[in-house]
């Protein structure tokens, strides 16, 4: 059986679908047997969606104005 440490190190490869069929099977089997690791993978997914939601900076007004003007001009042509 894969060690938990090894499994954790390959967490993204598992989620990104980079493992071979057999590796994936072994991986899933470990997750099925091991609560700590299956929690880790759930948490990793959670973290990935938190990362995707993390950018919150608002557009500076002058950039918005400039781009709106640019759009207007460009679409006239």
């Amino acid at each position: 059986m894969l060690s938990c440490k090894k499994l954790i190190e390959n967490g993204s490869e598992y989620l990104e679908g980079d493992l071979s069929r057999w590796e994936r099977f072994k991986y899933k089997f470990h997750l099925f047997m091991c609560k700590s690791c299956s929690r880790y993978i759930l948490q990793l997914k959670q973290v990935i969606s938190m990362i995707s939601l993390s950018p919150k900076k608002k557009i500076p007004q002058d950039m918005e104005d400039m781009l709106t003007k640019e759009f207007e001009e460009s679409m006239k042509k």
Binding site: K6, N10, E13, I51, M63, L67, T68, S74
Partner: protein, 214 residues
């Protein structure tokens, strides 16, 4: 329980019409729609520009990317989503700007080892059970805000090379092959960097869950 409250971005893509309607609207010179799109895509575009080119020129990069995007819009073929297309333009623009200023994407060695990970014993077993995350405490909202702050702080503290891959992948949604081309890293290095960054963020949240502290 797996609920972690992530502040809802009011300017999110969810307020935008469906993709084909969106493109049609823009091509029909729908100004109001354009303004919505610019607002909705800005946070991700900025994060990608920031991760590659740094804070000083990130806004210029986003602006330049939009200008190129607007000009190329009539030729947009819809082979990818509009947002992915723009993210790609931003990433390339950021990289070009770096080259012009003869800085390079930082590529510190990637071989820092996992060997001494305190979470595991020498046989690779967890030292302590990895506990479930639970956010259903009375001061849920407050702690969620604190968690947010801590999360943002730790994202900022990631090494540059990890930040770059993480932003291109998890914020920009680019595929790994494109990321490797833009950052000029090998695919195995990019994968290691990506996972290190995600793992570090997982550890941060786990620590927060355990101790209530950043």
């Amino acid at each position: 329980m797996m609920t972690i409250i992530v502040e809802n971005n009011s300017m999110s893509d969810k307020n935008l019409p469906e993709e084909s309607e969106l493109i049609q609207g823009l091509l029909n010179n729908n100004q109001a729609l354009f303004s919505k799109v610019v607002k909705a895509y800005y946070p991700s575009m900025y994060s990608v520009a920031y991760a590659i080119a740094g804070p000083a020129i990130a806004d210029e990069v986003v602006q330049e990317a939009w200008v190129s995007g607007i000009r190329a819009l009539p030729k947009f073929e819809g082979r990818s989503k509009l947002k992915s297309w723009l993210i790609r333009i931003v990433a390339n623009e950021a990289k070009t700007r770096l080259r012009k200023e003869s800085r390079s994407v930082s590529l510190e060695a990637v071989n820092e080892s996992w060997a001494t990970d305190p979470r595991f014993d020498n046989r690779g077993h967890w030292n302590e059970t990895n506990s479930e995350w639970d956010n259903a405490s009375p001061d849920e909202l407050l702690s969620a805000n604190e968690l947010q702050e801590c999360f943002d702080k730790h994202l900022e503290l990631l090494p540059d090379n990890q930040k770059q891959v993480l932003n291109l992948r998890d914020v920009g949604g680019m595929d790994m092959e494109e990321i490797c081309n833009i950052l000029e890293v090998s695919s195995s290095n990019a994968r290691v960097l990506l996972h290190r960054a995600r793992d570090r963020m997982q550890q941060m949240v786990a620590h927060f869950q355990r101790t209530g502290q950043c």
